[in-house]
Amino acid sequence: MKGGISINNLSFSYPDGTKALNNISFKVVEKERVAVLGPNGAGKTTMVMHLNGINDIQSGTVSIGNEKINTVNLKKIRKNVGIVFQDPDQQLFMPSVYEDVIFGPKNFGFTEEEIEKNSKEALVKVGMYDHKDKSPHHLSLGQKRKVAIATVIVSNPKIVIFDEPSSNLDPSSRRELIDIIKSLDSTVLLVTHDIPLALELCPRTIVLKEGSLLCDMATNEFLKNDLLMREARVELPFGFELHHEIHHIKNEDNDLLNHKHSD
C-alpha cells in the first residue's frame, strides 16, 4: 500500500443532523506534508477520522494508496494510517508506556521479533526508551505526546496524521516535536491552529471552513493572502515576521516540492 490520500466528494452528517463535511475533495501524494487549517468546528477532526475508518463514509470516497476504504480492508487501512490524537490521555490507556506502544503492532499481527525491534526503535526515536516501564499518567504532557507518537510510528504507517500536536506544549517540547515530525519518512497530515508550525513543516495547506474546502494552496502563499486568512479565521501570531520565516524555510520547501513534482 502506498502513502497517498485521495478524497472525493466526501460529505458527512452527525446523527443529530449537523452537517460536518460538505463535498470535500483533494489529493495528497506519498511523503508529502500537508497542513489542515481552519477555525474550530470547521470539520478538520471529522475529516481526519474518515482517513482511518473511524467515521463511516456516508457519501463520497476515501482512498489510501490505491485502495478505497471499506469494511473489508479496515484493518489494513488502520495499520497504514496512524492518528496521533490531540489529547495524549485519550491515546495512552495501557498500564505502561511499553504496553501502550506495542498495543497497535500486536493487534495488527506483527511477530514478536518485529514488535520488540519496532517498539525499541519507536521509543528511541522519540527519546522515551528510558521511560518504557513508567505509567503514562506519571509523564509530563510533552513526554506523553512523544509516547503517543511512538504508539503510532511503531507500526510503520505510510501516513501519520497529527491532530493539534503542539497544543499546550512548552517551546522546547514543541521544538522536539517538530524535529520528530521532520524525521518521519511518511506522508504527514497536520491538523493545527499553530501557523508557525504549519509554515515550518508543511509546504502545502488545506483550509476547511464550515465543512467545506476553502482553499488548497502553498502555505506561504496562503499566509500572504490577508483576505483568505481573514475568511478562514486564521491569523499570524503577534510579532511574527512572515517574510523572514519564509526566507529561512524557502529552500527546504522548494526541495520538498521539487521532490513531489519529480515523483
Binding site: 477520522m49 482511518n52 473511524i54 484493518k75 488502520r78 495499520k79 496512524g82 492518528i83 490524537f85 489529547d87 490521555d89 485519550q90 491515546q91 490507556f93 495501557m94 498500564p95 505502561s96 511499553y98 504496553e99 506495542i102 498495543f103 497497535g104 500486536k106 493487534n107 495488527f108 520488540e116 518504557k132 516501564d133 513508567k134 505509567s135 503514562p136 499518567h137 504508539t151 503510532v152 507500526s155
Partner: protein, 251 residues
C-alpha cells in the same frame, strides 16, 4: 519486558514479585477461605492455616512496620470485636465483676474475628506488595473473568488518577471564584461539578475507544504476555492448608 517493578509500593526484594499473579491470587483465596471456614476451637487446623498465612505474608512484605502501616483498615473490626466478650452471652461466664461479665463464647468470637480479619488484611497487603494492581487485573483475566469486567477494571485504574487531577482543577477554579463549600447550598455547586465530570468521562470514553480502534483493537486488551516464575512455596502452603482442612472435615 515488564513494568512489574516500577511501582514504589512493591517490595522488589521479595522473590514472590516475579511469581505468576494467578498463583498468588489463588493462594490468597485458598488460604483465606480455609481460615474463614475454620474456627479457633479447631485448634490444630486453625493454627496450621494461620502458620501458612504467616509464611506467605513473611516472604511478601519488607518489614513488620510496612505491614502495620497498611493495616489501619482493620481498626473498626478490632473495636467491634473488643465488645464481644461482654455482649455475646454464649458459653459460661469466666469472670464477673459487679454487673459486668465476660463470656467464654464471646472470647472465642473476639479471637476469631481478630485473627481472621488480621490474617485477611495481611494477605491483601502481602498480595499488593508483590503484585501491581494491573498485574492483579491481568491475573483475573487469566482466571477467565469476563473480558468486559477486566477491561472496565483496567480503565478505572488507569483513569482514576486522571479524574482526580481533573476534579482538583475544577475545585481550584471554584475556590478561585470564592467557593468555600460551607453548607447545603454549596453542595449544589459540587453536584454540578460532579455531573460535569460524568459527562466529560462519557466523552473521554468515546475518544479513548476511537483511539483504540484506530490501532486495530479487536477486543483483546491485555496482549503483553510476561514471563513469570512458579512458586513451590505457594503450592506447598496451599496444599498444607487444603490437606489440613480435609483431615479436619473427615475427623
Amino acid at each position: 519486558m515488564s513494568n512489574k517493578h516500577s511501582s514504589p509500593n512493591l517490595n522488589t526484594a521479595s522473590y514472590l514479585i516475579d511469581v505468576e499473579p494467578v498463583e498468588k491470587i489463588i493462594s490468597v483465596l485458598v488460604l483465606s477461605l480455609s481460615l474463614a471456614f475454620n474456627d479457633i476451637r479447631n485448634t490444630f487446623t486453625f493454627t496450621t492455616i494461620l502458620f501458612c498465612i504467616m509464611c506467605f505474608v513473611y516472604v511478601s512484605i519488607p518489614s513488620i512496620k510496612f505491614l502495620i502501616g497498611r493495616m489501619y483498615v482493620i481498626i473498626p473490626f478490632i473495636l467491634f470485636s473488643l465488645f464481644l466478650p461482654f455482649l455475646s452471652k454464649s458459653g459460661s461466664i469466666i469472670y464477673e465483676y459487679k454487673n459486668i461479665s465476660i463470656y467464654q463464647g464471646g472470647l472465642f468470637e473476639m479471637s476469631n474475628i481478630l485473627l481472621k480479619s488480621t490474617a485477611g488484611v495481611a494477605m491483601a497487603v502481602a498480595l499488593s506488595s508483590t503484585t501491581s494492581q494491573f498485574d492483579i487485573i491481568k491475573g483475573l483475566e487469566r482466571l477467565k473473568f469476563p473480558k468486559i469486567f477486566v477491561s472496565i477494571l483496567s480503565f478505572a485504574l488507569r483513569y482514576i488518577s486522571v479524574y482526580i487531577s481533573e476534579f482538583q482543577r475544577i475545585r481550584l477554579s471554584m475556590k478561585s471564584r470564592g467557593f468555600n463549600n460551607k453548607g447545603l447550598s454549596d453542595s449544589r455547586s459540587l453536584a454540578y461539578a460532579g455531573s460535569a465530570m460524568l459527562i466529560r468521562g462519557f466523552e473521554r470514553g468515546e475518544k479513548v475507544y476511537s483511539s483504540m480502534i484506530a490501532r486495530g483493537f479487536d477486543g483483546n486488551l491485555f496482549i503483553n504476555k510476561k514471563k513469570w516464575n512458579k512458586s513451590k512455596l505457594l503450592y506447598f502452603l496451599c496444599s498444607v492448608a487444603l490437606i489440613t482442612n480435609i483431615i479436619s472435615l473427615s475427623l
